[in-house]
Amino acid sequence: MDVMAKTESTFSTREFMGEIIRIEPVMGDAILTTFTAPKKAVAEARPGQFVQILSREPTAYDPLLRRPYSVYRADQKAQTLTVLVRAYGRGSAWLMRQQEGVSLDVMGPLGAPFTVRPKTERLLTVAGGVGAAPLRMLAEAAIRDGKQVTYLMGANDADGLLPARELPDEVEYVVATMDGSAGHTGFVTDIIPAYLQWADQVFSCGPEPMFRTLRAVIHQHRMGDRPDVQMAVERAMPCGIGACLGCVVETRRGMRTACVEGPVFEMDEMLWG
């Protein structure tokens, strides 16, 4: 091999620097962070996809790895992406301290989005906590495509709910709170049965216990394979591009990467251990 041979190859990197242009409180102690992004990244972002944000100072090696955040909004006009960030650990704490004007080191959009089947007319989305983010984008896209959306969300109290203004008017927004400060008193999964027969597809994102309850409820109520159910799961993601095999989900077809083959999986494909 001639090692000095000129290499003819084209590639486009998914890494970019995005300047924070807006920070808004949204629900509980979570914020919406909006940053500039390349045209291509904004145009290609699909509901359920995520970006990996480097959450450290340029002068520090720690915390080392990027943190995944679902795309909450892709604004084609403003050429921006928005993520919803909740204070959790070291990475999100860093991100929440960043002010407008700061440049974020971002990679994405990444992952396999939600799949809305062409025949689907009625979408039921079930959100818990920051799981509200990808489902908001999904709801927006579905309404734009002329479909019907019922958006269910659960939280401890009214403050923990996504504000209704964040969803398109056409969306039917139904909520549940543990303390009864808004909507149904109890779990969001309590109110699902009422919508199951209506829905063509169910989309969910939230904490693991919510998924498990949701699955039990659906198994109890569904007719045949209908509605079909997709879930966006959460895994720590060192690489986000399928290279490390650190984010896998056990499925009927074997180990699947949550970052490339997910984060959206068919509920019935996953093994629940």
Partner: protein, 338 residues
């Protein structure tokens, strides 16, 4: 995009100077095993064809689904992994990936792991004439079943044995990848050199663990995992320095490399090439930045080749450079026999 003018420093490295099948790289930057998948995963993030070479995920005799989750956790300036060698097995691997690589303009190095000497040799034999495979990297940080699970790479005799059997099974350039858990990594390096390794690479991960204090149990399902990333860099650099000063085959350094300055430290310690793992997870572009940055650094300081800085900070390397050749020895004999 790198320098193309005539005065660009020579970055070419030969990692198997003793081997007729040679392993010549256009530059010394190589993604590390387990951190680059099978080369395609990074295609959307870096220009794979510009790399010096790349190393595949570790391949085993049979397919493995790897360890249960969680497999990874972050640590201060580092990470722990216990992937457990999820891979399609040597046969599935050979069917699937080398044919793709065949059309690529970048040498593909296959990392192999096994629990017996025979399995190592078997895999080497199967890879020997597979088009698209440029070299093998023998991962001796594996438990040896016939030695009660004691790691091959912690024992010079066992390391030598693997090397010898693999050498007998293939004429491919063979890199032996050393374990930092050895009591004396120099002894292991010299043992595998003696048995015909074309190069050594180091370090593999250090064994570590984390405990989830909420659940009061280890974070990783596997309990322990391998520590990598910038946190381990000083340990890796020390070992590269020691090994490079003690063997005559090329040394490939790795462990925590994230910047051009880090890479230069390894070259100055005596590494002929470097591998990059963890840092490329966080920032894939680091791979391109390294190629460009090393070249620029050399050019800015007037070095005509990378070779000019390899080992410059290594005392024993310097001594070795001064070691007289046979013909000189005759005239200097009196000095040596005093």
């Amino acid at each position: 995009m790198g320098m193309t003018h005539a005065n660009a420093p020579d970055m070419v490295v030969d990692l198997a100077p003793r081997n007729p099948r040679e392993l010549v790289l256009r530059n010394p930057v190589i993604p590390a095993s387990g951190c680059f998948g099978y080369g395609q995963e990074f295609a959307g993030s870096v220009d794979v064809q510009r790399l010096g070479a790349f190393v595949s995920k570790g391949i085993t005799p049979k397919s493995r689904s790897g360890n249960p989750m969680p497999r990874i956790t972050e640590t201060p300036a580092g990470m722990l992994n216990a992937i457990g060698l999820q891979n399609p097995g040597i046969s599935g691997f050979i069917r699937k990936y080398p044919p793709i690589w065949l059309s690529w303009d970048v040498p593909a190095i296959v990392n192999i792991s096994a629990k017996s000497v025979e399995d190592f040799a078997m895999m080497a034999r199967k890879l020997d004439d597979v088009p698209g495979v440029a070299a093998i990297e023998v991962n001796i940080s594996c438990p040896n079943i016939s030695a009660g699970g004691f790691c091959f790479g912690w024992d010079a005799a066992m390391s030598a044995d693997v090397t010898q059997k693999v050498r007998a099974a293939t004429t491919l350039p063979m890199i032996v990848k050393l374990s930092p858990g050895a009591l004396d990594i120099v002894e292991i390096a010299q043992a595998v050199e003696a048995e015909g390794a074309d190069a050594v690479s180091l370090i593999n991960t250090l064994v570590g663990m984390e405990i989830d204090i909420q659940r009061q149990r280890p974070v990783l399902a596997n309990v322990t995992g391998g520590l990598s990333g910038p946190a381990v860099r000083p340990v890796a650099l020390r070992m590269v320095y020691q090994v490079a000063g003690s063997v005559d085959i090329p040394v490939i350094g790795m462990g925590g490399i994230a910047t051009v300055a880090d890479a230069l430290q390894f070259f100055m310690a005596g590494a002929s090439a470097i591998q990059v793992g963890t840092a490329a997870f966080a920032q894939p572009r680091v791979l391109m930045d390294l190629i460009d940055g090393i070249e620029r650094w050399l050019a800015a300081r007037g070095h005509s080749s990378l070779g000019g800085i390899v080992g410059v900070a290594n005392e024993r390397y310097q001594l070795r450079r001064q070691t007289p050749r046979a013909e000189d020895l005759l005239t200097m004999e009196s000095e040596f026999t005093r």
